[in-house]
């Protein structure tokens, strides 16, 4: 544990002033600091347009919008802001990248397309590639797991033959296990493949550094990749925001898959002259207010003591992991850290989540959008507690106490008590 005080941090988050429920679903969505809310509201209060109009308000909006791109680039230490494309989230980013990469290769006359991904992936980094596999000439190889992480030996074996793309999660949304991206990149390069990383779960907990020439921030991690995606809402930013970073030379070759306003320099009956990246990938009016909120969240994190955040989250996560490991009947499916997935003997995961809800705790339960990994782990579903910088020791101990109560309760009865409180009676 560090001297970091989450209670002081909480003062920046309106959620904690208005809500009493313990928020332990940070892997799905994070609460937002006031600075982010203010930025979104300010943008909405001064609506304008970007990259289009010449009036002063629009010029200012364009500058602010591009400054937001610079902040996001700095957030992941990307070499250039023009390698960052705004999207509506990690899902949107991966779908864009998958379609675009495939079409680019096809137009360049590439025969066949070999993809390697893993059973650990969130559906957003699984389904876009699986859907591509329906196209003629596309082959997909899904490597297995080694305990709670990716089977690196299987990855090496899969990449002993030429490959076009490797798509993996940097941090699992089920087990919390981190990928050794340096090793994955080495294997991908040897196979001639592009390495794409889903960093949705990673950006909350570690400062990502893509540029080897940049000094590694305290608590940060050097990440090797050719492309990477992440979401705003999982790092204290607004919902419906995300970014796709693609290495500059690779980005130049990608073709857009969405077409509309402000993504071409000229168009006539015979030719289309696309804007240079990233604008060619951002057709139509962007969600400016949310994107500015996303950039504000990145700025807020850049200015925060992220090494202290990390130490706090890791310390609490390990403590909670140990507590749950010692709880009779609890089975853990995650590595020690700020994401803990588990089951409790005798309890259906949804019944347990409803029981915990009654106890004032918000936890996700279900397949966690990772059905293949659930099958591989041999469980139908899991309950997941996920921590953030504002999580307190008391939050974690409330969960431990509630689970201890659950052990003593009768599953399927206790969980229904919630309805007694907030539902009507039948007359």
């Amino acid at each position: 544990m560090t001297s970091f005080d989450p209670y002081i941090l909480r003062k920046e988050f309106p959620y904690f002033a208005h809500e009493s429920a313990v928020w332990l679903d940070n892997a799905a969505n994070t609460q937002k600091p006031q600075a982010v809310l203010d930025r979104v509201l300010l943008s909405l209060a001064r609506a304008s347009t970007v990259h289009r109009a010449v009036y002063a308000l629009a010029e200012e909006a364009t500058l602010v919008y591009e400054e937001a791109r610079s902040i996001l680039a700095r957030f992941i230490s990307a070499p250039s802001k023009d390698e960052v494309i705004f999207t509506n989230g990690t899902t949107g980013a991966i779908n864009l990248f998958a379609r675009s990469l495939y079409l680019s290769g096809k137009r360049a006359g590439r025969q066949g397309f070999r993809i390697v991904t893993s059973v650990l992936e969130h559906h957003s980094n699984y389904l876009p590639w699986r859907m591509l596999a329906d196209e003629p000439g596309v082959e997909i190889i899904i490597i297995g797991h080694d305990g709670l992480g990716i089977d690196m030996e299987a990855l090496a074996k899969a990449l002993s033959a030429p490959c076009d793309l490797v798509a993996l999660s940097l941090c699992s949304n089920v087990s919390g296990a981190w990928l050794d991206s340096q090793q994955a990149a080495k294997l991908a390069r040897a196979a001639g493949a592009v390495l794409f990383l889903d960093a949705a779960q990673a950006v909350l907990h570690r400062a990502i550094c893509l540029d080897d020439s940049v000094a590694l921030p305290a608590g940060g991690i050097r990440v090797a990749a050719d492309a990477l995606a992440f979401s705003g809402h999982k790092m204290y930013g607004p919902d419906g925001t995300g970014a796709l970073w693609v290495r500059g030379d690779l980005l130049q070759d990608l073709v857009p898959v969405t077409f509309g306003g402000e993504m071409v320099r000229s168009v006539d009956d015979s030719a289309i002259d696309l804007q240079p990246p990233p604008r060619r990938f951002e057709a139509g009016t962007p969600n400016c207010s949310a994107i500015l909120g996303f950039a504000e969240a990145a700025r807020w994190l850049l200015q925060s003591p992220r090494d202290e955040f990390r130490a706090h989250e890791e310390g609490l996560g390990r403590m909670l992991h140990d507590e749950l490991s010692a709880l009779p009947g609890a089975r853990l499916y995650s590595v020690p850290g700020p994401l803990i997935s588990f089951t409790l003997d005798g309890w259906h995961t949804h019944d347990l989540a409803l029981f915990l809800d009654r106890e004032g705790l918000c936890l996700r339960a279900g397949r966690l959008c990772a059905e293949p990994f659930m099958r591989a782990l041999g469980v139908p579903a899991l309950v997941r507690a996920s921590l953030a910088a504002y999580t307190t020791r008391e939050d974690c101990m409330r969960l431990v106490r509630a689970l201890t109560l659950a052990k003593a309760a009768i599953p399927g009865r206790a969980c229904l008590a919630r309805f007694a409180r907030d539902s009507a009676s039948m007359h």
Binding site: H348, H350, M374, G412, M426
Partner: protein
């Protein structure tokens, strides 16, 4: 007069229609949590007989139990009419509400259980994710009838 909690507890405990000897029949899944239910529908001289088994939470169990009790002795058309109506009630958009003493669509025999289902499903309109749990058997049942 029973509360939602009492109704749910009761039907979940009774697990009416549960039969772990069913090995054949259509299996339906809840994509959110992985729950599954296997339905076996038989026509008897007295009407339909619905049996089920599967892995599910207490809400799914209560929903299946309730469906099994309501459908007992009814015709396929009658229970289909009622199930469609009940499912619509669980939708927040549903405008149609019936008076406490008004006839229930399709139902001839099991009015007490059917009225509890109407009450329960109206309440679940406020829980768009949880309602998928209790509706799993009901949606599966409609799908099964349409496939038969």
């Amino acid at each position: 007069m029973r509360t939602v909690e009492e109704i749910l507890k009761d039907y979940a405990r009774r697990s009416s229609g549960f039969d772990d000897t069913i090995l054949e029949g259509r299996i339906f899944h809840n994509p959110n949590c992985g729950d599954s239910i296997r339905l076996a529908l038989a026509d008897t001289e007295c009407g339909v007989l619905l049996r089920w088994n599967g892995e599910g939470c207490s809400l799914m169990t209560a929903g299946a139990s309730l469906l099994s009790l309501i459908s007992a002795g009814e015709s396929r058309d009658a229970i289909k009419a009622f199930a469609s109506y009940a499912i619509r009630l669980a939708s927040r958009d549903a405008q149609a509400r019936i008076a406490d003493d008004a006839p229930l669509p399709g139902i001839r025999h099991n009015a007490i259980e059917a009225r509890e289902a109407v009450f329960l499903f109206s309440e679940f309109a406020r829980y768009p994710v949880r309602r998928e749990c209790i509706l799993l058997p009901w949606n599966a049942f409609i799908q099964l009838l349409e496939e038969m």
